[in-house]
Structures are given as C-alpha cells and as structure tokens.
C-alpha cells in the first residue's frame, strides 16, 4: 500500500506498539488494503497493543472509520493521535450505529411469490379490459363526433409502424419463402410431388406464416417503440400536461396507435405474403424447374381465396393485440431505468405470446374453412 504504512514494533513483556504512518487517505488504499484492514482488526482486539497514529501525514474520514472499526467503535484512550486528527474521530463517532438486520429465512416465500404473480396477472388483465373498453367508448364517441377523429396522429403512426416496416418485412418474408420452399421441395421430390410445392407454399404462407411473421416483426418494432414512447411520456409528465390542456390520452395517444396498427398489420401481412411467395417461387424455379408463369397460374387454382381473407382478418386482430399490449405496458412504466427496460421487454414478449395464442384459437375456429379436403 504505497503511502499508508503499518509498522508493528515489539517492546518487551508481550507489549507492542502499532504505528500508523504515511498517508492514510482513501486515495492511497489499494489492493493490499484488505490485508492491512484484517491485520488492524486482529491487533485491535489485542489489549496489549498500543496504537500510535502520530506518524500519519494525511488522514481522512474513510481511514478514520477503518481505524474506528478496528478499535471496536470506541475511542481508545491509550492511542496517541495528532490533535488535528481528533476532529475526524469526533465526526466518525457521531454517526448513529445502524442496527444490523438479520435475514429471517421465509419458507413461505415461493408460495407468496407465486400468489403475487397470479394476482398481478389478474390485475393486468383487468387493466387491459379497461383499456379495451375505453377504446370502444372512444370509437362510439368518434362515430358521433367525426370532427374529433385524430387524423394526424393516426397518419403519423401508420407511417412509423407501416411504411417504415416495409423493407424489413419484405426482406424477412422473402427469405422465409425461399427457405420454406427449399425444404419442402427436398421432401416432395422423393414422392415425385414437386407440383404440390405451390399448394404448400400458397396455403402455409398465406394462412399462417405471413400473418404470424408480420405480427412478430411488428411486435418487436412497433410494440416496443410504442411502449417506450408512452412510458417516457409518463415519466416526463407529458401525459399530465396533455390532460391539463383537455387532451385525453386514450383518445389522442392510445386510439391512434391501435387504429394505425389495425389498418397497417393486414396490409403488411399481404405485403409479407407476396414477398414470401416471391421467394418461394424463385426457389422453386431454381430447384424444381417450375416456371414462373406456371407458378402464378396455378396458385389461385389451388389456394382458395378464403385463405387470403383469413390472413387478412388475422392481421387486423394481431395488430390490435400488439397495440393494446404495448399501450398497456407503456402506461404502467414508472420513472426509473429498470421499469422502462422491463416494460418494453414485457410488452414484446406478451404481445408475441398473445399473437400465438390468438393464432391457435383462430386455427381451431377456421379449421374447416379454406382447405379443400
């Protein structure tokens, strides 16, 4: 420890003097301090050791506290201390001792934890129901007062969630189409059923892949953005400011986001479907030699139009789900960094999970539609 020196001098008859010399300040504590500290505490417990602090040239309250602890939190009468350092010990002594809190093992902890999570789940569901209800009320209000429809907010959200998502959904859709087509083709070749690639791609992509893929992308992109947006507005009191100006948050903040996603998601589903089918078509051509014209002629013949409608309607539902979940989490964000990060994470994860659940329900409900069996 450069600067802070501990020197143990042995006098006769079992007595010794511990000299503290040099610069005893926090700045001069380095990795050797733990050793020095342990040594001090050990010697502090020994009544035959006298302490001499007169050799200290620089002393601060952190070092004084370390010495104080070694002395058992009492001013050691026999210790020799420079007069100008006494004030430091006075300050250290003035700190009220905090009672040590012993941790009691709580055996019920796991049960309480589980119970609390369930209650939080119900509370969240209730809040979402309230939000949904408020949406319905606002929509009815707007039907009666069409002048109050927040066109600008809706348009801005459509641009952010929709227009700016076109490149990424196109790219992802295209690549998934290529991969799906490639994998299916490998299998179909074994049965000489190459032609059915169009059926598989057509129905699989239109009915399931594109809607779910688009919804997941939208949840990650727009869902997290909406949650962070509303969350930060809460923290900076912007929502309060809006309220004082008579601008209702549900009408001008939440409804535009929900309507924008309800409009944009089905369109993005169509877009993704097209990109995926394009990718599939290219891959089928390359691997199986299926011509583009054949693909495009056969597609409408083997894929009933009902599938397109199913994809479309799924898009609307997924969009609404993602938006409501995003707004719900956003409105619950508290003013700290942990809450913001946990809120956006929760928003995306819950949105994606809910989308999958809705998709499963839809699949069961429509299992007889659109598939000519």
């Amino acid at each position: 420890m450069a600067g802070a020196v501990l020197r143990h001098e042995f006098a006769g008859g079992g007595r010794s003097v511990l000299h503290l010399e040099g610069e005893w300040t926090l700045r001069h504590f380095d990795a050797g301090f733990a050793h020095i500290s342990a040594h001090m505490i050990e010697l502090g417990a020994d009544p035959r050791v006298d302490w001499d602090l007169t050799g200290i040239t620089a002393f601060d309250s952190a070092a004084a506290m370390a010495v104080w602890r070694a002395w058992g939190r009492r001013r050691r009468e026999s210790a020799r201390v420079n007069p100008e350092h006494e004030a430091l010990f006075a300050r250290v002594a003035a700190v009220p001792p905090l009672p040590h809190v012993t941790k009691v093992p709580d055996w019920l902890r796991p049960i309480v934890f589980l119970g609390r999570r369930v209650l939080i789940l119900f509370e969240n569901l209730a809040s979402i129901a309230v939000l949904l209800g408020q949406m319905i009320f606002d929509s009815i209000y707007l039907v009666r007062h069409p002048r109050d429809i927040p066109w600008r907010e809706i348009s801005a959200n459509i641009h952010k969630a929709g227009t700016q998502a076109l490149p990424v959904t196109a790219m992802v859709g295209f690549l998934i189409g290529v991969v799906l087509s490639y994998l299916s083709a490998l299998q179909l070749k074994n049965f000489g059923a190459d032609i059915y690639i169009i059926n598989i791609l057509g129905i699989g992509v239109t009915r399931e892949m594109a809607p779910v893929l688009a919804a997941v992308l939208i949840a990650g992109r727009s869902g997290s953005a909406m949650t962070a947006h509303i969350g930060v507005m809460r923290v900076t009191e912007e929502i309060d400011a809006m309220a004082t100006m008579g601008i209702p948050a549900s009408l001008r903040l939440v409804l535009p986001k929900v309507s924008a996603l309800a409009i944009v998601t089905p369109l993005l589903v169509m877009w993704t479907t097209a990109a995926a089918l394009l990718g599939g078509m290219l891959s089928a051509n390359y691997q199986l030699g299926l011509s583009y014209s054949f693909f495009m002629e056969t597609l409408p013949k083997v894929v009933p139009i009902a599938n397109l409608w199913i994809g479309f309607i799924k898009g609307v539902m997924f969009g609404v789900v993602v938006a409501i979940v995003a707004c719900h989490y956003g409105l619950r964000i508290r003013p700290n960094t942990e809450s913001l990060s946990a809120g956006t994470t929760g928003s995306v994860v819950t949105a994606i999970s809910s989308v999958i659940v809705v998709d499963a329900v839809f699949a069961i409900l429509t299992k007889d539609i659109g598939l000519d069996l």
Binding site: T25, A87, P96
Partner: protein, 267 residues
Amino acid sequence: MGANEPEEEGPVIEVIDVCTQIGTQLIHNGVSLTVNRGEVMALVGGSGSGKTTLLRHVIGLTQPTRGKIKLFGQDLAELDRDAAHRVRQRFGTLFQYGALFSALPVFDNIALPLRELRVLDEGLIHDLVMMKLHLVELECAHARKMPAQLSGGMIKRVGLARSLSLEPELLVLDEPTAGLDPDRSESFVKLIKTLGRELHLTAMMVTHDLDTLFTLADRVAVLAEQRIIAVGTVDEIAALPHPFIRNFFQGERAERARKMAAAHIHK
C-alpha cells in the same frame, strides 16, 4: 477528509485560453480561469453563455476545441487511462438534477463509487455510506428508498453525499439550488458552506441564484461575450459597469439578497 493532505502548490483548476466551437457556433473564445485551493468560485453568466459547457470541460466530459484544462496541475488532454482515473477520484460532481441512478436505492447510489474501488470490504463501505448520509443530514431510514420516492431537496442531498463518497479535494456543482424552494435552498447552501469549511474543499459552481452567490462564493467569474469578462469578489464584481453585471447584480432582487446575506453573516 482532505483535511491533512500535504498542501500541493498551485491552483486546483486552470482553464487556459479555451475555445469551444460546436458546429458553426463559437461558444467560448479565449476563456481563462483559475480556481485556487480552498476557495469557492462561482461561475455566472446569461443563459446560453456556455457556463455548463465550460463545467463539462472541467470535469472531463468534453474537450474544448482549443486551449487547455488543467486539474491539480495536470493537463486533462495528456493523461493516460490510469492517470485520468486517479484525477477523477480527486473531485466529486453534483449534477443539476442529482443524476442519481434510478434503479438503485439511496444506499447503493452512495456506495457505488466506493464499490468501484474494489478494495474495501462491505462492512466498511456500509459504515462509510452511513457516515456520508449523516454528513448531509439525512436519516438512516432514507437509505432504502428509491430516487423516485425522494423529494427534490433529498435528491440533492443524496447527490451531494455521493459526490463526497471518495473524500474529494474538489467539488464541482451545477446549479446547486435549482428547483429547491427557498427554505430548502437556504439549508442546502448552509450545508455546503459548513462542509466546505470542515472538509477543506475547493469548489466551483455554476449558479444563477443570488443568495447562493452572496453566501457561498469567495470569488465570482462572469462569463459573457464568449470569455470571462471579470473575476473578483462579489462586491468587486457588483460594482462594475458592464450591462450584464448591472442587470444581474444591481437589480432589486440583488439588493434584497445582499442584505439577507449580510444579516446572516452577522448573526
């Protein structure tokens, strides 16, 4: 604290001919300032005059376009990582809104600089944090609270405790009394004054507040027209005929503040 450091020769902060250009805007044009050991220097100037920018240069967050900043006699631009780290440990900063870590309770906010040293055991850190809380007149009960649960005055005090964690020699304050009501403001200024004396701190603060100026500042530097137009004691500056100084120091509020400060000093 920095009570019995071997007194180093020379000023604590030296700003030498600093010019700062951001985009096409010239914010500082030849700013020079010296803060001596043990004094409290206040930096005043109009809004947008570059006070906070200069402060950020001094604490090493930004670099000036031209010129030098020296802390404890060392040029900030020429320090390697270890040297820069050691210099950082010698000063503490109190930000305008506290800048407490929102995810950590009060205790961990103050303990953070101590833990970053990685040489102290938790028991000693616990005692040191309690000592700092006591120093800024906060009760132990507040140690478990989160920053979002604290009032403005308490946030400032916790911020002050954190800035004093590493027993610094220099304290840099950005608008210490911003957002505090008059009562809190007065008690906070008194606290800084007492601590500054007891701990032998050098301080540099940016402030608008006249009461703070009259009570705390040993010297005042006026930043206007992209440079320091005057440095001196409060009384010396107040008497100068410059239009900004006239508005700042010679209005009615200034008179009241001056009278109040004088009354307190004589109490």
